[in-house]
């Protein structure tokens, strides 16, 4: 039987592989063998399992809501047999949970004679115009029971109410009280009460921000000395408010003027650069809809990549030159080099890359001016299919022999093997390399 012998062979191969490599989660043989099994092995394995599986063998649940609405299949293997509720919880506890959401007037304990009941009722009527203790009202809010705040008319009682809400820590109660204060007090008093109660402020700010009540929010934050928080909220609104780059630019400009004006604001340069970037993008796009489509709204590095792609070699100082954009935005050397490297490698412009990293000094010597680790450069070149001699040039620039050998292994090149063999005494370093070379060929 040809098939079964093939199968045997497969399992042999498979077990051999999985035993020797049983536990090397951390082995990174450049993505080919990972997590204990060779990739080809797992692919074949899953292929085999899927074969002949058919569609009918699965247990699909037709009852699922998300499946029903998105018309996807749901596989649900869980067949649960649940015990009936009454064996799990007592009737009293169950009713207690179910009734927790509903409001019931608290019934007085025990039987009352009519006189007592009259006394209680009379007291209730008399107390109608006296505010109940703040704590009781807050508890009502917490429980979701009906309540009224109208009786808390004195400033003192309002403060007590707010304190009680803060003490319990229920955001809903806090907001209920703050909204009541805003309705019944003049602004300066509201601010005075809030000043010392940060939890309530946070709760109220979140509400204002969700309701887009920007003026009140900014007022409050400025009053509390939280100008940074205020400026961030404004920035967020300026950016999220619109997708249109022109509108966004206008928003940002007024935001910068009004809220990032303090010289010590550390985010000011960033917002400033954001404005410059949008202006640059709009200028670059001009009336060209195609350019606008690819450029507008892109981050700095994508914009830089665009200039490297289309305007490489233009003189410094011209608007479209990569250097101009990079200097304007203060792009780090590292990111500049990485972007240029990626673009030029994709264009296979190896000479431009060399110019980027290696300068010839006037004495005729070569000088390396790389802000990137050379390993990364080599990897990126390799990813874009750089020819062997180019790769070797950069491999030679890696000073650390260990790192060079490791990288060499990854790239499965023989060049360094010979080269290093003469320099390094520790042969055991090279054993895995030998092995991989033997296998690789």
């Amino acid at each position: 039987m040809a098939e079964s012998s093939q199968e045997d062979e497969y399992w042999q191969e498979y077990w051999h592989a999985s035993e020797t490599k049983a536990f090397n989660f951390e082995d990174d043989q450049f993505g080919s063998e990972l997590y204990g099994v060779p990739k080809s092995g797992t692919a074949r394995l899953s292929q085999r399992v899927r074969e002949g599986m058919g569609g009918d063998s699965t247990c699909f649940s037709a009852d699922s809501l998300s499946g029903f609405l998105s018309r996807t299949t749901i596989s649900d293997s869980s067949q649960t047999t649940t015990r009936p509720l009454h064996t799990l919880i007592s009737e009293k506890s169950l009713l207690c949970i179910l009734n927790a959401g509903n409001f019931h007037e608290k019934e007085p304990k025990g039987n009352l004679c009519p006189e007592e009941e009259v006394t209680i009722l009379r007291r209730q009527v008399e107390d109608r115009w006296v505010p109940p203790p703040a704590k009781d009202t807050i508890t009502k809010i917490l429980l979701g029971h009906p309540y009224s705040l109208e009786l808390y008319r004195s400033l003192k009682s309002k403060a007590e109410l707010l304190d009680a809400a803060v003490a319990v820590g229920d955001g809903n109660a806090m907001l209920a009280v703050v909204l009541f204060l805003v309705r019944t007090l003049k602004k300066s008093y509201v601010h005075q009460l809030l000043r010392t109660r940060p939890d309530a402020v946070a709760q109220y700010c979140q509400y204002l921000s969700t309701r887009l009540q920007v003026h009140e929010l900014t007022d409050l934050l400025e009053m509390l000395g939280e100008s940074r928080e205020a400026s961030m909220k404004q920035f967020q609104l300026a950016v999220c408010g619109t997708m249109n780059p022109l509108r966004r630019l206008q928003n940002l400009k007024s935001c910068l003027r009004n809220h990032f004006s303090l010289p010590d604001n550390k985010d000011r340069p960033l917002v400033d650069n954001y404005i410059k970037l949008l202006e640059w993008q709009l200028a670059m796009a001009g009336t060209d809809a195609e350019v606008a489509k690819v450029l507008l709204g892109q981050p700095v590095l994508s914009s830089l990549a665009y200039t490297c792609q289309h305007h490489w070699g233009e003189p410094r100082g011209r608007l479209s030159s990569p250097q101009t954009l990079s200097e304007q935005q203060g792009v780090s050397d590292r990111q500049f080099q990485w972007t240029v490297l990626t673009v030029q490698a994709s264009k296979q412009s190896w000479d431009d890359i060399e110019k980027l990293f290696i300068t010839k000094s006037w004495m005729g010597g070569k000088k390396l001016k790389a802000a990137l680790p050379m390993e990364q450069v080599v990897m990126q070149l390799h990813a874009h299919g750089a020819p062997r001699d180019i790769l070797n040039k950069y491999l030679d620039l890696i000073d650390n022999v260990d790192k060079r050998v490791k990288l060499e292994q990854k790239l499965q090149s023989n060049k360094v093997f010979v080269d290093v063999n003469n320099k390094v005494e520790e042969l055991e370093n090279l054993l895995p390399l030998k092995y991989s070379i033997r296998e690789g060929i």
């Binding site: 399992w11 999985s18 049983a22 090397n24 989660f25 951390e26 450049f30 990972l34 997590y35 204990g36 797992t42 394995l45 899953s46 899927r50 063998s57 699965t58 649940s61 809501l65 998300s66 029903f68 609405l69 996807t72 299949t73 596989s75 649900d76 293997s77 869980s78 015990r83 509720l85 799990l88 919880i89 007592s90 506890s93 207690c96 949970i97 179910l98 959401g101 429980l143 820590g169 229920d170 955001g171 809903n172 907001l175 909204l179 940060p198 946070a202 709760q203 979140q206 950016v239 550390k266 960033l270 650069n273 970037l277 981050p299 792009v331 780090s332 590292r334 990111q335 990485w338 990364q376």
Partner: protein, 604 residues
């Protein structure tokens, strides 16, 4: 074998069902149910289509911006209590009223009804026109002893925005859980939100009633704020389900499998939802295994399957008949399960494999506070090679673990990130500062300010750590000092076998033991009093403990650990290992299941 503790959890979804049933039966006649899409997955854990049908729901549809297509005159909206969603519904109702349509409108809020929403309804003129209901569901049992309240937005609400409106709902879920199990005699909290929740739970017991059970099946409850341990969120897990969550994103314990896994070539857009459940024997075996150990296990199972196949070929007809009747279905299910898990493994390997080793190394260096220069440039490298989420996540870990990171260095990383991903993410950095994750502890926190509230814990930690540092070798950062004090770095020796873990730190490849897991482990040891154990935690000043039923002499044997702001699958695996090693029971609950990616998403 399920013990009574776990089987009692069955009650939770039955109570939730009952609550929803009560609401639906208050609305007479045939009705349309319009569901908030984000509620769909959690609802799947509680109810099904047939449940809704049997309670008068004729038509089920998703809440969409485009509008509604209702077939009956009873419009029932089921949504999270969220102002923006409520506003959208007001608009839909008003649009419908404009057309002179006379329908009845109902709003069901999960989990609570808020003053802010009531005010909105009033302002929009629909107060009195819509009937408002509250569906405060119970904790949702995702699998085994894992519970979630499924409030994924809660982390941001609390820790970034300081919005506490959901805390009372969280408190209520803990109250009803204790009505089910009996009031838990020992309650410990870590963090400011946890202690406020505890205050509310006490009020609920006073006002709404207590359990009639004499004693509780759970001996100790630990409620903790998520900011007690950010490292466990940021680190990359090595367990199977942890990595599934990283790569596929698990939601309500189910994952979406695409053609990469299902192998369906025709109709490539078709996705499949796969429910992760421990009743699936394969999943149950591999969920908490170290990833490198999963594949060998799966291949063993495939081998068994093949020998079974061979056996079938040699069967006599009557044997075959018996086989078809008894085993065939089981084998087919096993085969399907194997195929999906193998497929999922492949995708995980392809997505994570190329960078796992270097990532793991960088995480180790950061945790131990070594090779600062190298870590820094690794993060920079990530900006170019990995996505936004992965980059920012590593940046957070760097800032969390290296307290000598200077303001200039932070600014450099911030600028590089914004250059790479767009200036609009400036807000994300502001949010991280609010979490106390970016600023150097103690230097940039403006004490007393409203929005430095989140930094309080960090500042306290720094202060506390300062005392400890003096006793330790020089040049140890405050994170490292804290980790040493709680023994969070496992002693890794030759015997440290990730395949047969003896230590919860295996969930991060032997790098780090989750803080809360270590606290529970100390409680089990019972060498220190619960009070002393809590003082070891980072949130000094906001810890509390309360004992309700006399003095406890024996060490607690069953725990409920509740994470306010979400729990990770790595932590769950760590607790499940602890259960096995110490012979105790630990139910793990959270306001949601969180991971590093969702954490970063929530602050962006």
């Amino acid at each position: 074998m399920e013990d009574s503790l776990e089987s009692r959890l069955d009650a939770l979804h039955q109570i939730s069902q009952r609550k929803l049933k009560d609401i639906l039966s208050k609305i007479p006649g045939r009705k349309d149910l319009i569901i908030d899409p984000v509620l769909m997955k959690p609802l799947d854990c509680i109810i099904g289509v047939s449940f809704l049908r049997s309670h008068g729901v004729d038509n089920i549809c998703k809440l969409e911006k485009s509008g509604v297509n209702c077939v009956t005159s009873e419009w029932v909206y089921l949504i999270y209590s969220d102002l923006i969603t409520a506003k959208r519904i007001c608009d839909q109702i008003n649009a419908n009223l404009q057309k002179n349509n006379r329908n009845n409108y109902h709003l069901i809020f999960v989990p609570n009804d808020f003053v802010a929403i009531q005010q909105l309804l009033e302002e929009e003129g629909v107060h009195g026109i819509v009937t408002v209901h509250t569906f405060s569901w119970e904790l949702i049992r995702l699998d085994g002893g894992i519970l979630s309240y499924e409030l994924p937005h809660l982390f941001k609400m609390l820790f970034v925005d300081g919005d506490r409106s959901m805390l009372s709902a969280v408190a209520r879920s803990l109250w009803s859980l204790q009505l089910l199990f009996g009031r838990i005699p020992l309650t410990l909290t870590q963090g400011r939100f946890s202690s406020q929740i505890q205050t509310m739970v006490d009020i609920l017991f006073d006002e709404l009633g207590s359990s009639d059970r004499a004693d509780s099946e759970i001996s100790c409850m630990l409620v903790v704020d998520r900011d007690v341990d950010y490292a466990s969120v940021l680190l990359t897990p090595v367990t199977y389900v942890g990595l599934l969550d990283e790569v596929f994103g698990v939601s309500s314990n189910s994952i979406e499998l695409d053609s990469r896994v299902t192998g369906n070539q025709e109709g490539t857009a078709k996705k499949m939802t796969y429910k992760l459940s421990s009743t699936d024997a394969i999943y149950n075996e591999i969920k908490n295994r170290h990833f490198a150990d999963v594949f060998p296990f799966l291949s063993g199972k495939v081998k068994d399957l093949h020998s079974d196949y061979d056996r079938r070929h040699n069967m006599a007809p009557h044997e075959m008949k018996h086989y078809v009747a008894t085993e065939l279905q089981k084998v087919a299910a096993l085969r399907t399960s194997l195929a999906y898990h193998i497929g999922a493994c492949e995708v995980i390997r392809d997505e994570m494999g190329h960078r796992f080793k270097s990532l793991h190394q960088a995480e180790q260096n950061m945790l131990e506070g070594r090779n600062k220069r190298e870590n820094f440039s690794y993060v920079e490298e990530c900006f170019a090679t990995s996505g936004k989420l992965a980059s920012l996540r590593l940046l957070c870990l760097l800032a969390l673990t290296q307290d000598e990171l200077s303001a200039d260095e932070v600014t450099l990383l911030k600028t590089e990130f914004l250059h790479c991903c767009g200036y609009e993410h400036l807000v994300a950095f502001h949010n991280l500062e609010k979490l106390g994750l970016l600023t150097r502890q103690g230097t940039e926190t403006n004490q007393g300010g409203v929005f430095s509230g989140a930094n309080e814990a960090a500042g306290k930690l720094a202060g506390r750590v300062a005392q400890v540092v003096s006793q330790l070798p020089k040049r140890v950062g405050s994170f490292q000092a804290f980790a040493h004090r709680l023994k969070l770095f496992p002693q890794v020796s030759d015997e440290y076998d990730l395949k047969h873990p003896k230590d919860p730190g295996y969930v991060f490849g032997g790098l780090y033991v989750p803080v809360v897991c270590q606290l529970v482990s100390l409680l089990i040891k019972n060498e220190l009093s619960p009070d002393e154990v809590m003082k070891l935690g980072p949130s000094i000043g906001t810890t509390s403990w309360a004992q309700n039923a006399g003095k406890m002499s024996a060490a607690p044997k069953s725990f409920l650990v509740y994470f306010v702001g979400g729990v990770t699958y790595a932590e769950i695996a760590a607790f499940q290992l602890l259960e096995k090693l110490k012979g105790v029971r630990i139910l793990v609950a959270g306001t949601s299941i969180i991971n590093g990616n969702r954490f970063i998403q929530s602050i962006m």
